[in-house]
């Protein structure tokens, strides 16, 4: 073996910051880890500001201010302002709860470029039940109005699963009614809370296909008025999604307490040591942290990925899903039809979609034991 120096990785495009794990909602598909980070241990304002500056210098273009509910941070306006002044395109990913007209105006003033508002359902009853928060429907609708009145572009985000899949058409109408420029119809991805709730969330394949057809029809009808992005449920896909655009290739996530992660679920993979932005610059983390290098590129791949002609298209799919469903993070993501585990997970998805299970475990700080 000859020692060689790897060329420095291409710079990241996006920085996703989970500013806090506090959130008024209790969505059962939340992408946050089951072990939510405590408010008392969150990074302070100055550290976040330094991180934004480092991200911009490193080459990041977008910053996604996320959570939890990012506006639960009292310094959200100051952080938005600093991120914007650092040259980053600022995107607020919010539930809309607790973001009144005054705060929305302050965020717009601070340079917020875009707001992404979640809806859990396309009517009051469904929305409030699935977000586990009574009265959120009215608050979300009001927030949408504050955003468009301030002249900011609005995206509506709808995470779709068995309990609301029948509302895809209604979500499209809602987005148009609220003046959104963009709608994300995101089929649930099964990590964290969603994995714990999979049996109650997994939709039947035929209904997924119907939802895709509906979106395609609406895309054609609303061309130039509404952009619709769709995330396909990958258990039923032919090829896996390139998770986070490829490990250590596009994006950096930072958790509320400052852990830098290649994707939001990366901590589920044992044996990886994640550096903290309190101790290391973002540039050093991107280039040198072994956790970011662990699955970067194609060297780590096993078959069938290693010789696959799509290895630099989907980058083997998702490492966390490979681990969760096959027991080895280096395996092909079983969402891929070439994976030897693919048939098994499709069978699992099909069985769960027909299980009739409805009980949901709501996201919360309390770690409940599954019954």
């Amino acid at each position: 073996m000859t020692a060689h120096t790897a060329p420095p990785p291409a710079p990241p495009i996006g920085l996703l910051v989970e500013l806090t794990h506090r959130c008024p909602l209790g969505c059962p598909y939340c992408s946050n880890p089951l072990a939510l980070e405590r408010p008392g241990a969150e990074l302070d304002t100055e550290t976040w500001k330094r991180v934004f500056g480092e991200a911009a210098a490193l080459g990041a273009l977008h910053v996604h201010l996320s959570g939890g509910e990012p506006t639960a941070r009292r310094d959200i306006v100051e952080l938005t302002s600093h991120a914007s002044q650092s040259g980053l395109y600022t995107n607020l990913i919010t539930s809309g709860i607790g973001v009144g007209e005054k705060l929305t105006g302050e965020l717009a003033e601070a340079g917020l470029d875009h707001a992404q508002l979640s809806f859990q359902g396309a009517d009051k009853e469904t929305n409030d039940r699935l977000g586990h928060y009574s009265g959120s429907w009215e608050r979300k609708r009001a927030f949408a109005g504050y955003v468009t009145t301030a002249g900011m572009p609005l995206t509506i985000n709808a995470v779709i699963h068995r309990a609301n899949l029948h509302q895809v058409g209604a979500f499209i109408e809602l987005a148009v009614e609220l003046g959104a420029r963009r709608l994300e119809i995101a089929h649930t991805q099964y990590y964290g809370w969603a994995l714990a709730n999979r049996a109650a969330l997994m939709p039947p394949r035929q209904e997924v296909e119907r939802s895709i057809a509906l979106v395609e029809e609406a895309r054609a009808r609303l061309k130039g008025e509404l952009v619709i992005d769709m995330v396909i449920p990958d258990y039923y896909a032919r090829y896996p999604k390139p998770c986070a655009g490829g490990w250590g290739r596009i994006a950096i996530n930072v958790s509320p307490t400052g852990k830098a992660l290649p994707c939001h679920a990366a901590e589920t993979i044992p044996g990886l040591e994640f550096w903290n932005v309190r101790d290391h610059s973002l540039g050093d983390i991107w280039r040198l942290n072994p956790a970011f290098r662990a699955f970067r590129g194609t060297e780590w791949m096993l078959e069938p990925c290693r010789s696959c002609d799509r290895r630099e298209v989907d980058w083997g799919g998702c490492r966390c899903q490979a681990l969760a469903l096959t027991g080895d993070a280096r395996n092909a993501d079983p969402a891929c039809h070439k994976s030897p585990d693919h048939e098994r997970i499709v069978a699992t998805a099909t069985a769960e979609s027909e299980s009739g299970r409805e009980a949901l475990r709501w996201r919360s700080y309390k770690q409940k034991v599954e019954a």
Partner: protein, 91 residues
């Protein structure tokens, strides 16, 4: 909805033309999207300030590049129509 001589194209709020110094290229930043634009397109977009109409933009470019207005107009309209369909340009 057609782009004509009187159209005053502009980038809507939430869409930004940015010089990406790290990668040495021009980009158009939009919600969850990044469009790479070449230097010529960046020059056109810098003129899309909502004040100038298409006629003025084309005249300016024709002078700058010493090229016939008709050719420039055709290229500029095609480029702007494409960006408009992507909802990153208003007229």
């Amino acid at each position: 909805m057609e782009i004509d001589a009187q159209s005053r194209p502009r980038l809507p709020r939430g869409v930004k033309l940015k010089r990406d110094e790290v990668r040495e290229r021009w980009t158009l930043l939009a919600p969850e999207r990044i469009f790479e634009v070449d230097a010529t397109a960046a020059t056109v977009l810098e003129l899309c300030d909502g004040e100038r109409d298409l006629k003025a933009i084309v005249a300016e470019l024709a002078e700058r590049y010493n090229a016939p207005s008709a050719v420039i107009e055709k290229d500029v309209v095609a480029m702007l129509a494409d960006l408009k369909a992507k909802r990153v340009l208003e007229t």
